[in-house]
């Protein structure tokens, strides 16, 4: 099994995730309907369903634009033929060429919007559309398949999904592909979507804004709706590169074409960048010097990742971070940072303590007491009882002891002997 080969530290890292996932994924008692589980899962699996759906919608929009473009070309072609005084042979040739375009269109795939998940009706459906619709269906099926009987396997799959998500966001594409392939997760992870982002990120890291600008153009209406200024920032950086190269007249032309339209809403930023023309690339003035630093490209990469995740409905943080923080926060108590913290507690390890440092303590409505003898929780069904010497043990343990010793209790820590009737019940606040 793939997971068994992971280093011990990573196995430990999985513990809080599994614990949290189990508790969260299995809130209803066994044997009950799947609906409560599915409802709970959906709260945490928003990204799981949203990303392939967004990807599918994007493909539909692109194909729709292609269809409209071809149709308008064909219609205008027919109009031309009607208006022109063509010979019968020329007319036949013209119409044949129009028919060929329509046949090409058919291969692109007409589709119906009546049912987004309906099987495509044409004999040659668009492969991309088909695959993406299928992926949406596979994920719905996967969520529905979660039940008490296979929860362990389901959680294991989820852990791998989370790891693949993390690898993709950290740009470890090859590793992510290998894990997904070896665990047969291809339809449950978003490798193809992140490959799209990879092209843009690689280009930005090579100081090339063209793929990013093309991506902005593809998603123009949605970026505008969310008031994104990604394109503006890309344009600013390209302007800076022209100033760096002392290509000042081209920089001015560029500013007039691509920066001026943003002046109405982002004048202060525009002014600051334009002013670099007066200060040049080797300026010591810190306000403008920073604009020429290489790390500006790193900011663009970060900005693009945020926009990309937002557009696809992904969480801005990796899923691994989110689950890990939720788990550590649930386990974190002041006791964890004391020297006698039990080794069974993940926060007894330095690495987890460090990770948990900025997180809030778990909210404990009531104190939790564990019996020294049985290690079981003491609660209203198993209340703590106090011996005359002040030591506290659970009712079950004491009853068991009394039964074995003719009603006498022997304190395991001090050796005190007393009668069961001398015990006093304690209450947990």
């Amino acid at each position: 099994m793939e997971m068994d080969s992971l280093p011990n530290g990573n196995n430990t890292a999985g513990t809080p995730i599994s614990a949290t996932a189990t508790a969260t994924a299995n809130p209803a008692p066994p044997q009950s309907s799947n609906l409560p589980q599915l409802t709970e899962s959906l709260k945490l699996e928003h990204q799981f369903l949203r990303v392939p759906f967004e990807h599918y919608k994007k493909t539909l929009r692109a194909n729709h634009r292609a269809v409209e473009k071809e149709m308008s070309a064909v219609i205008s072609g027919v109009t031309e033929a009607a208006a022109a005084d063509l010979s019968p042979d020329d007319a036949v040739n013209h119409l044949n060429s129009l028919v060929c375009r329509l046949q090409g269109l058919k291969r692109k795939g007409f589709y119906s919007f009546d049912f987004l998940f309906a099987v495509l009706s044409l004999e040659e459906g668009s492969r991309a559309e088909h695959l993406q619709a299928q992926k949406c269906r596979v994920r719905l099926d996967h969520l529905e398949s979660a039940d008490a009987e296979n929860m362990s396997e389901w959680n294991n799959t989820r852990m791998k999904r989370i790891l693949v998500d993390y690898m993709l966001r950290m740009s470890y594409y090859d590793t992510a592909v290998k894990l997904a392939k070896s665990s047969n997760l291809q339809d449950l992870v978003d490798i193809d979507v992140f490959q799209e982002a990879k092209k843009v990120i690689d280009a930005l890291q090579n100081k090339d804004v063209a793929p990013a600008l093309a991506w902005c153009a593809d998603n123009k209406s949605r970026l505008k709706k969310s008031k994104s200024k990604m394109e503006f920032q890309l344009r600013l950086q390209e302007f800076i590169e022209l100033v760096r190269a002392e290509n000042n007249l081209r920089a001015i032309t560029y500013a007039r074409k691509y920066l001026a339209p943003w002046g109405a809403t982002h004048m202060k930023e525009l002014q600051r960048v334009i002013a670099t023309l007066a200060f040049k690339r080797d300026t010591e003035c810190s306000t403008y010097k920073v604009l020429f630093e290489a790390k500006q490209w790193d900011y663009l990469v970060d900005q693009f990742k945020q926009e990309f995740c937002k557009l696809y409905g992904m969480t801005l943080e990796p899923l691994l971070n989110i689950y890990l923080q939720a788990g550590l926060s649930a386990l974190k108590t002041p006791y964890c940072y004391e020297d006698d913290c039990t080794k069974e507690d993940p926060l007894s390890q330095e690495a987890f303590r460090t990770l948990a440092m900025p997180l809030p303590y778990s909210k404990q409505h009531h104190s939790k007491l564990v019996c020294y003898i049985t290690k079981e929780l003491m609660d209203t069904e198993n209340p703590p009882q106090v011996l005359p010497n002040g030591y506290v043990y659970s009712t079950k343990a004491l009853e068991e002891m009394a039964k074995k010793n003719n009603g006498r209790i022997i304190c395991p820590r001090t050796g005190l002997v007393c009668s069961y009737t001398e015990l006093v019940k304690a209450y947990i606040s």
């Binding site: 002014q271 002013a275 007066a278 200060f279 003035c285």
Partner: protein, 215 residues
């Protein structure tokens, strides 16, 4: 002795006072020929140096307004070395007027070189110059500077404001009043009438526009 306010309208104003007010206005605004005519007609006496300085101020004034700011700066320096040396704000504003002239003349390369050599050194002095430089440089980002949100920088009002400031600075340097007596009187009259109008039955506030219209 105090005059009964009800008699104000009856008081005769000294002819010489009126002449002084008018001459002050003409001299302040460099109306040289008008000043000379006025003096000869009224028989007033004025020191010759007033007229001499006025001639120089007039040339500076006109060069600045006509878009020849560098010449204006040069002539100001000739008048007195330290007028602009001691006034960074004014010198920067004048230099920026020259930058604006270059931009409006579509001399981009010249404008850039000027900004790099003459304007940007000011940024090391104070933050406010940096903000101003950014405003002026943004004019370059628009094919037609009028479309720039900072278009007021190419307007006549802004230029007039800077040139007025230059004129006042030169006057101050020669210990001459930087505001005309006329301006002072109008300001004082407006304030007095404003106060009186708040009394019951007082006269209405003074409005120069209404006053001129009623003539």
């Amino acid at each position: 002795m105090d005059v009964d306010p009800r008699q104000y309208e009856q008081i005769a104003i000294n002819e010489n006072d009126v002449n002084n007010i008018i001459l002050s206005y003409l001299i302040h605004n460099c109306y040289k020929e008008s000043s000379e005519s006025f003096i000869s007609c009224t028989g007033m006496k004025q020191p010759a140096d007033h007229l001499e300085n006025m001639e120089k101020r007039k040339r500076i004034f006109h060069h600045a307004l006509e878009g020849n700011v560098l010449k204006a700066i040069e002539l100001t320096g000739q008048l007195a070395q330290d007028i602009l040396e001691n006034n960074n704000d004014l010198l920067f504003d004048l230099l920026s007027l020259h930058f604006v002239d270059l931009v409006c003349s579509k001399k981009w390369t010249e404008a850039l070189e000027f900004a790099q050599t003459k304007l940007s050194p000011y940024s090391v002095k104070e933050q406010k110059y940096m903000d101003k430089i950014e405003g002026f440089m943004s004019l370059l980002a628009y094919e037609n500077p009028v479309e720039c949100p900072m278009f007021h920088l190419i307007g006549l009002d802004y230029r007039q404001q800077v040139v007025d400031s230059l004129n006042q600075t030169i006057l101050a340097h020669f210990n001459l009043p930087i505001h005309t007596a006329m301006e002072r009187l109008i300001q004082q009259t407006s304030v007095v009438r404003q106060c009186l109008s708040q009394e019951d039955g007082g006269p209405p506030p003074f409005s120069l526009k209404d006053f001129l219209k009623s003539r």
